[in-house]
């Protein structure tokens, strides 16, 4: 084995080992406060079930949205909520990055021998995000059934690749927005706005927006790749592209957004000023 490869492997094992430990601690923290679980288990899924009920109402009133029928919309909605939930589990801290910058909470990450972004997200892993995952999966399965999708291993692979890419796109956007705090030195909670915009652009077909908006949401803020384009090919609505190609593009876009976000974050970190005593 080449030494560089060996070193990378060792490092990967190190990160996986820490991740396992952090996950264990996150679960233990949840168990420490059992009353919180009940609250989250009720309020979070309810939010998305309600959202879906509105779609059902709209479709029943108007027949369809932008040429998408009820089952297809459920598929799209479910796909969007699942990647939202995954991003909540792993990347929700990005919403609060400004507070960490102001309070000097990056100090402890900087004095440990691991990546700062990794520690920022993984030592604050949000197990409660699972409560968003449940309604997402339910609605997605419902959509699959309604559309009569034949679940093959290939289909599952395509969905998993899409979800990985979509989660990275969302996470990258949280990091990009959060990292502005290093420059502004103010704590703005971007969560609300981000969630609003992401919900409106990923839970409904992008084709219902004007073309200029579609262009922006595809190339500049690439949220179209989170759910709309993958769902279009997986459902056969858009048959111009290979059904494997689009999920792979989503993954590539996710990695690209993450790389840009990581570079921007590191730029900010050099300007990090900690907090006075």
């Amino acid at each position: 084995m080449e030494p560089a490869f060996k070193r990378a492997l060792k490092e990967l094992i190190h990160y996986l080992d820490v991740t396992a430990c952090v996950m264990k601690m996150a679960v233990m923290t949840v168990i420490e406060y059992p009353s919180n679980i009940a609250g989250w288990l009720i309020s979070n899924p309810l939010q998305f079930i309600m959202g879906f009920a509105i779609i059902k109402f709209v479709v029943e009133s108007f027949g369809q949205i932008s040429g998408w029928n009820y089952g297809q919309l459920a598929f799209l909605y479910g796909l969007s909520v699942i990647s939202h939930a995954l991003s909540m589990i792993f990347f929700v801290q990005g919403w609060f990055m400004g507070y960490y910058v102001i309070e000097g909470d990056f100090d402890r990450y900087l004095t440990r021998p691991l990546g700062v972004l990794y520690q920022f997200f993984f030592t604050n892993i949000n197990i409660f995000g699972v409560t968003d995952l449940i309604p997402g999966i339910l609605v997605f399965i419902y959509g699959c059934v309604k559309c009569g999708i034949c679940v093959t291993p290939l289909f599952i692979l395509q969905v998993l690749i899409t979800l990985a890419g979509a989660t990275l796109i969302r996470g990258g956007i949280y990091i990009l927005l959060g990292s502005t705090s290093f420059h502004t030195r103010s704590a703005v909670d971007f969560g609300q706005y981000t969630q609003e915009i992401m919900d409106k652009t990923t839970m409904y077909p992008l084709s219902m927006y004007p073309e200029s908006m579609q262009f922006i949401l595809t190339y500049l803020i690439p949220v179209g790749w989170i759910s709309f384009y993958p769902a279009s090919v997986l459902l056969g609505i858009d048959s111009a592209y290979n059904a494997m190609l689009i999920p792979l593009i989503t993954l590539a876009v996710g990695i690209l957004v993450m790389l840009i976000a990581g570079a921007y974050f590191n730029m900010g970190l050099r300007k990090y000023e900690s907090a006075g005593n």
Partner: protein
């Protein structure tokens, strides 16, 4: 062990003018001011030293210690720990350092202390046998095992600081940075902390760098002090030598039977109130015994005591008060 070379840190600060007019002006044409928090610091610290950083609030102590521990990126200059630049090779170099910042904790608030240690064990890849040995050793100094199963949120400040000290030593770092570690602690917790620092320094040869406002910390721990003011180094050297140089005098306090106090040619009377007179003399020129002998020839003396020029005098002088 540690090499600090021409270290500087500048901050850009927005100038805010008062009132709505000022706010608008700041919005349209923001004015910036460059703050030199630390200017051109250079020094060397050997393995096994305990060095105290002192200086008034806002002097640049914390900024310096944060650059030395890799938290802040220097504007200019560099910090080498064991020969390697910490801001270039952060992940490797920080394996050699431990950090305790007085008001912050790296412990998980919701879980038991042992859980936080467990995570650090994984982060620093410490072998179980080494981990057990370190914990036993530190337990001997701090009695940490009494509180290891206690949730951190239920701990007193003193217990939490003990927890943080052990947490910072789990990977047996060569250098330990402490930023105002005794702040807010009661007497017994301060005692425990100082004992801990002395012990790890003696047994493990750990290099310790601390900032503090507590003169007791300095007197009991530091052979060497570095005084910083306005971001510039004012003094760097052996504590007792600095004291001798900056404050080379002692004060003799004499109590007489009445209010009439004689003068002495070899020293200066600095205070005279009631039956008590204070005489300040240079240690090199005359001894207290000589002065007492001379004075007692002139008048009957009831009582004497000697005030040493202490570190607080040094600080007053060095801070320019």
């Amino acid at each position: 062990m540690i090499d600090v070379q021409n270290l500087s840190k500048d901050y850009v600060q927005k100038i805010k003018e008062p009132g709505l007019g000022g706010a608008l002006k700041g919005l349209i044409k923001p004015q910036h001011k460059l703050i030199h928090a630390v200017r051109d610091l250079s020094f060397h610290i050997e393995e096994g030293e305990i060095v105290g950083f002192i200086g008034p609030n806002g002097a640049g102590k914390s900024t310096t210690i944060k650059m030395m521990s890799g938290i802040l990126t220097p504007t200019e200059g560099r910090v080498l720990i064991d020969g390697r630049d910490i801001s270039k090779y952060r992940k490797e170099v920080v394996r050699n350092i431990g950090v305790v910042f007085g008001q912050r904790t790296q412990l998980n608030w919701d879980l038991r202390l042992s859980e936080s240690f467990e995570l650090l064990k994984h982060i620093y890849q410490v072998e179980q046998a080494d981990y057990d040995r370190t914990l036993d050793e530190l337990d001997g100094i701090l009695g940490i095992k009494e509180i290891i199963d206690k949730p951190v949120r239920q701990m007193s400040l003193g217990q939490r600081v003990k927890g943080d000290l052990v947490a910072s030593m789990i990977h047996s770092p060569k250098v330990l940075f402490l930023d105002e570690p005794t702040i807010g602690l009661d007497v017994s917790a301060k005692y425990a902390l100082r004992k801990f620092i002395k012990e790890i320094n003696r047994v493990r040869k750990t290099t310790v760098i601390l900032t503090t406002h507590d003169l007791g910390d300095i007197q009991q721990l530091c052979e060497r002090i570095i005084i910083i003011n306005h971001g510039v180094m004012v003094e760097d050297g052996n504590l007792s030598q600095i004291v001798d140089r900056i404050a080379p005098y002692k004060t003799l306090v004499v109590e007489y039977y009445d209010e009439d106090a004689p003068r002495h040619p070899g020293c200066e009377m600095t205070e005279h109130e009631g039956n008590v007179a204070k005489y300040r003399f240079l240690k090199k020129e005359i001894t207290a015994a000589e002065i007492i002998a001379d004075l007692s020839e002139k008048k009957a003396i009831k009582d004497v005591s000697i005030e040493e020029a202490g570190i607080d005098d040094i600080i007053k002088i060095a801070y320019g008060e």
